[in-house]
């Protein structure tokens, strides 16, 4: 009997539901639709029903995120407790002992910088620690031009280049740079460090490939980093390794959509003073179809018979290189930087070079200074001969040292001095930087101002060797340069004599 009751109950329920259903507006359409869609084809109707049910299930599901929520929910009390517990750190942390010595050891120059300067200690020294290699700093002709420009345009550009910041002098300087390097066009940036960090991301984006030398300067490393490109490093100046990396890239990215590819290297390496093998790099660039971004920050106005940089040094037209980036703040004694290349390369940066678009333009008088420096370089090319002869005179003495050697190119007026590996083994030198600082102090005491190569190791991709950094200048005569070399040599020997030998 119970079974019968159940059946009756089910029947009545179904009837009442269908009676209710008919009362819903639009139910007739649904019924008609279901009736006509059934059409004696249960399989297909079943399929449609499944799809319908799936859609209903999907609509009723609540939202969820694939992103991991790895945070802890804190109660208001816990938040308050944490806030109370928190004691702010001082905005400027007190200096530790190393920093303190570092700060104390910085020499202070009284008056205008130049090849011979007076220190705050009252001592007069020969300045081999400045990029003033062509002695253009304080040049009367440049000074007059700068003063004239300040009178005409004021001190600052007061706006980004695309926003009322461009003045006649900027356009003239860009023309001067193009003429100087013999390239179709160039663009100037307001800050040397920001030039390469704008140029690289203007062209290289995520997914593009950059093959870079492992000894490039910090600015270039940062430029590559913010471009978000895929980075492959090759051993410093090792052309076989470069070729190996290019082949590896070719293999790894075979079959993937073609993206932009760049080789990035430095003309004269800031951290070791040697020179990139441009002819070989160009050969590989054409063979593997890459673009070349060459940072000539240290080599413009330094290398080549008339100071036109690495391209002139190797007698290669500058147009062979896709982008030449350089600094106006080194030997040109102005400020800012530039990128030179084809019309396309330059005009693209006018709307997508971050430093150009978003920073105030270079002050007019600095642009004028750079132009004037270039015209002096062109009108008196003999300064480069003198620079080279000073460099060779200095190297002739320095290269005879037993304790230190120079990894720099013999023609480079930017000279790095590094401790010999044998010396590091046989002598008890705990802190190389301290040893080098002692040498610097000894040199200053004897009338020669040089410097350690100061880098922030934590910012560098690869560790940079501790070196002394010496910059030859034409402001000193050959005899004075030789005297300075002798002082450096004697200082190294003197400091070394105090270092105990390792007992075996």
């Amino acid at each position: 009997m119970a079974f019968h009751d159940t059946l009756v109950y089910i029947n009545s329920t179904v009837e009442s539901i269908s009676a209710q259903f008919i009362r819903i507006p639009g139910s007739a359409i649904v019924l008609r639709y279901v009736r006509s869609s059934y059409q004696n084809d249960p399989m297909r109707s079943f399929l449609e029903l499944c799809l319908f049910l799936f859609a209903v299930r999907y609509f009723l599901a609540s939202k969820y995120s694939f992103a991991k929520k790895d945070f802890i929910k804190l109660s208001t009390k816990e938040v308050d407790d944490l806030v109370h517990e928190w004691t702010p750190e001082p905005l400027v942390a007190p200096l530790d002992e190393t920093d303190q010595t570092e700060v104390e050891k910085i020499p202070v120059i009284i008056g205008i910088s130049g090849p011979k300067v007076k220190l705050s200690t009252g001592k007069s020294v020969m300045n081999l620690a400045s990029f003033n290699m062509l002695n253009l700093l304080g040049n009367e002709q440049i000074r007059e031009r700068a003063i004239k420009t300040v009178r005409e345009y004021g001190v600052g550009a007061c706006g980004p280049s695309g926003f009322y910041g461009t003045q006649e002098v900027h356009i003239q300087t860009e023309k001067d740079i193009s003429n100087f390097l013999r390239v179709p066009a160039s663009i100037i940036y307001a800050q040397a460090f920001n030039t390469i960090t704008s140029t690289i991301p203007a062209f290289a984006k995520r997914g593009d490939i950059i093959v870079a030398d492992s000894a490039i300067a910090l600015a270039i490393q940062k430029g590559i980093l913010i471009s978000r490109s895929t980075i492959r490093w090759f051993q410093h100046n090792d052309m076989d390794d470069l070729e190996r990396v290019l082949q590896q890239v070719h293999k790894d990215f075979k079959g993937q959509p073609l993206t932009r590819r760049f080789i990035v290297t430095e003309g004269l390496f800031e951290n070791c003073g040697d020179i990139a093998d441009l002819p070989k790099i160009l050969e590989l660039k054409y063979k593997y179809k890459y673009r070349l971004i060459l940072d000539e920050s240290c080599s413009i106005g330094v290398l080549g018979k008339t100071g036109r940089g690495l391209t002139e040094y190797y007698n290669i037209p500058a147009t062979e290189i896709d982008m030449i980036v350089g600094s106006l703040a080194t030997t040109m004694c102005a400020g800012g930087g530039f990128c030179a290349g084809s019309e396309y390369v330059v005009s693209h940066q006018r709307i997508s070079g971050n430093g150009y678009v978003f920073s105030a333009a270079l002050p007019g008088y600095l642009a004028a200074t750079a132009s004037e420096s270039m015209s002096i370089m062109q009108s008196s090319p003999e300064i480069f001969t003198q620079l080279l002869s000073n460099t060779r005179a200095f190297r002739a003495i320095i290269d005879k040292m037993t304790y230190m050697y120079s990894p720099s190119d013999p023609d480079s007026p930017l000279i790095h001095l590094q401790l010999n590996p044998e010396v590091l083994e046989s002598r008890k030198i705990d802190d190389e930087d301290k040893f080098l600082q002692d040498v610097v102090d000894e040199c200053i005491a004897n009338g020669v101002l040089i410097s350690r190569n100061k880098v922030v190791q934590s910012q560098e991709v690869f560790p940079v060797e501790s070196t002394l950094k010496i910059m030859i200048t034409t402001g000193l005569t050959k005899r004075e340069t030789e005297k300075a070399a002798a002082v450096v040599k004697a200082a190294v020997s003197k400091v070394m004599s105090k270092v105990p030998k390792v007992k075996h």
Partner: protein, 183 residues
Amino acid sequence: MITSKEERRRRSSSIISHLQPETIEEQSDQAALPNLNANWVNNKGAWVIHFVLIACLKIFYDLLPGVSQELSWTLTNISYVVGSYIMFHYVTGIPFEFNAGAYDNLNMWEQIDNGDQYTPTKKFLLGVPIGLFLISTHYTHYDLGMFVLNCLACLVVVIPKLPSSHRLRLSVPELMTSSSWDS
């Protein structure tokens, strides 16, 4: 024993692969600016336009001489499906320069609502092709050929929209090499 060559072949023969999770840089670049490429689908107009487009397609196919009602509905369904597949599931990245290419690997469906599932827009966008399929099969009077066509078309856009196909990629290695630039 498996030689290295066999191992490689075995790996490359798998046609289904998952996208790698984003790196810290990619995540920060994605968060740097609102994703204007995907956000507009949440607007009212973006919902209405689906119905407008479907109506336009239907009218267009009706106007073609010699096209029966059945064929017209099927063509409408297929056109809508092909269009929305290309838009939501085929094209990856963002056509504009907002995020330094941080979305280069993701198609539009995966960019919508930052990859969250079962959001109102996603429910709507899944509902439209299903509804269109049910209507088209109804008006094609259950002709088997048309039904199969409509059903396949529907599945083509519904399956990639499922949460389980999120960040999933199908790749046929043979096809990949033939389209390679240097082969």
